[in-house]
């Protein structure tokens, strides 16, 4: 799958001028609210006709304003999971799920098998005969995802599908989206303004700022960059072993070993760790007698001063893995940090996301 977007669209005071390509897997469109993420996804889905530009999926041109080409949304085969689930209130869950089947020429057997596997993937077997009004927010979103999947899309758009849910409901749905990414084989364009979500789910990240693409690339590279919000870093790791006595898990990553509170993932499982820049301290000497368990060694790769001058993000190369530490400008000067200087990074806390 490939998605190529190059569009301009103006609406009142807002100008969207975006150009990006998405690779297979989950591509996250990341940015603050009002940065134009939803407009961009609506253009891809065919809900908005852009003022100028081109949209192509797998080489098929869906929009080309120069040639006055605009494929209507019902002929795009692009699934759309909305922020508000938009289930049809007059249809049961089962009929909501099967709605798209009326329009895709599928034989009965294949469709039945599809329904069974999607229902299983999303864990909604017990909801099939219910009416949407009686579902919880999390259940509604799972049904909405299933409904979009069963229309056999070649690309799935998800516009902040977790935004209207509380923390517990989010935790309930995230694993299903991961399974979708890994098992269903449908490429996903995922809109989010949550770093944690993007870190956990995305393969590729496209950062949108005030209607413009300011960065795009693999998730680990992009999230480490200072201008991407809170400047956290993502480390890929595997579970090396569990320490039952202290209820810890030991992870192996390119940067070194990390000890974290016991994870439920089995030994050998691949996990993705997200480390916020402000949770990293730097020391010139190997620190001794401190409570922090995780100390990684590396070299300073670059220093990005913040706009206000009081802080700076120090990028570290820890044996190939990139890590960012947010320090005060005073500390940077006091430690005489400069590219190439070896340092020790003390990590205060890590949020570990399964992947």
């Amino acid at each position: 799958m490939s998605l190529d977007v190059d569009v301009d669209h103006a609406r009142e005071a807002f100008r969207l001028s975006a150009r990006f390509s998405a690779a297979p897997g989950l591509t996250a469109l990341f940015g603050r609210s009002g940065s134009g993420k939803t407009t961009l996804v609506d253009i891809v889905g065919g809900l908005i006709r852009p003022d100028r530009g081109k949209v192509a999926v797998d080489g098929q041109v869906l929009v080309d304003t120069e040639r006055s080409l605009f494929v209507p949304k019902h002929r795009r085969r692009i699934g759309y999971v909305f922020q508000d689930s938009r289930l049809f209130p007059h249809l049961s869950v089962r009929r909501n799920l099967l709605y798209g089947r009326w329009f895709t020429r599928e034989d009965g057997d294949g469709a039945a098998a599809d329904l069974a596997s999607v229902v299983k993937l999303l864990g909604i077997e017990h909801l099939l005969e219910r009416q949407p009004a009686s579902l919880s927010g999390g259940e509604k979103q799972r049904v909405a995802i299933g409904r979009a999947l069963l229309a056999h899309p070649r690309l799935l758009l998800m516009d902040e599908p977790l935004a209207s849910l509380d923390e517990a409901r989010r935790a309930e749905i995230l694993p299903y989206i991961e399974r979708l990414r890994d098992e269903a084989g449908v490429p996903i364009l995922y809109v989010s303004h949550s770093v944690a979500e993007v870190a956990r789910l995305a393969t590729t990240v496209v950062i949108l700022t005030d209607g413009k693409v300011t960065a795009a690339g693999p998730v680990a590279d992009i999230l480490s960059q200072a201008d991407s919000g809170d400047g956290g870093s993502v480390l890929d790791a595997t579970v090396a072993r569990h320490d039952e006595a202290y209820q810890l898990s030991v992870l192996a990553s390119a940067a070194g070993q990390l000890q974290v509170p016991r994870l439920s993932a089995p030994v050998g499982a691949h996990v993705r760790a997200y480390i916020r820049a402000r949770d990293v301290m730097l020391s010139l000497e190997p620190p001794q007698g401190i409570s922090a368990l995780n100390v990684l060694s590396g070299r300073v790769a670059g220093i990005v001063p913040a706009a206000n001058g009081a802080q700076a993000d120090v990028r570290l190369d820890c044996n190939g893995a990139m890590l960012t530490a947010r320090l005060t400008a005073k500390s940077v000067q006091g430690l005489a940090l400069a590219p190439g200087r070896p340092v020790h990074a003390v990590i205060k806390s890590v949020s570990f996301e399964r992947s």
């Binding site: 809900l47 692009i78 007059h90 329009f103 009004a133």
Partner: protein, 228 residues
């Protein structure tokens, strides 16, 4: 009740049912256009639809007479090419009732279409449904309570229509003498009071049944949509 009265009641029911059912597809189409589309001349269409509501019924009946009469332009065309004759037939009474009930029908349906969430319609579009299918499977079922309300209003209006009908197709027993026409006739003759009173009661009963029926139907649909 006399056979003459029974005939008038049957005729009225036939005329009102025909008027309602025949104008329903047009009413839904116009209501959808007014609710969902912007086009040149939209306010003109809106005004034309509402005109029978504000014009004196006799004026509407007279306009029908000079356009749908046997020798009037539209009437002659329809009679010569399709064999459809309105003047002094029960079909003419149905046409007059349909025209008079149309604004009520369109108003109710338009309001309920406007209340249907367009975001549901675009969601259906992303699932592969063509606009006509979106209308048939999403918009129409969701605005059904309004369609029923509009149809009942139209039916009630048709049952009571008098001015336009009598002007357009006169008051011919067994052909165009509807319930209100007969009540009017009975009040003009001596000893007609008892008959007029009987028909008045019949009229009240029919109206109440129609209202009750629509209420039940709308509630059943509503319950189904909101069912837990």
């Amino acid at each position: 009740m006399t056979p003459e009265e029974w005939t008038a009641v049957r005729l009225s029911l036939l005329v009102a049912t025909t008027a309602t059912l025949a104008s329903l597809p047009f009413g839904i189409a116009i209501a959808w256009l007014l609710a969902r589309r912007t086009f040149w001349g939209k306010s003109l269409v809106d005004t034309l639809v509402h005109l029978p509501l504000i014009l004196p019924p006799v004026v509407t009946g007279y306009l029908l007479l000079i356009s749908f009469g046997r020798r009037a332009p539209i009437g002659a065309f329809l009679a010569d090419n399709f064999g459809i004759v309105f003047s002094f037939r029960w079909t003419g009474a149905a046409l007059a009732c349909a025209v008079m009930g149309f604004p009520l029908l369109v108003r109710a349906i338009r309001l309920s279409i406007e209340a249907v969430d367009t975001r549901l319609e675009s969601a259906a579009g992303t699932l592969g449904a063509r606009p006509l299918w979106v209308f048939a499977t999403i918009t129409l079922p969701l605005c059904m309570p309004g369609v029923i309300a509009g149809a009942i209003l139209c039916f009630a209006k048709a049952m009571g229509e008098f001015g336009a009908t009598i002007t357009f197709v006169s008051n011919i027993p067994g052909e165009t003498q509807t319930l209100p026409s007969l009540i009017y006739t009975l009040t003009q003759v001596p000893d007609g009071d008892a008959g007029a009173l009987r028909l008045t009661l019949v009229s009240i009963v029919i109206s109440m049944l129609a209202l009750l029926g629509s209420e039940l139907l709308a509630r059943r649909i509503g319950v189904k949509q909101m069912a837990a």
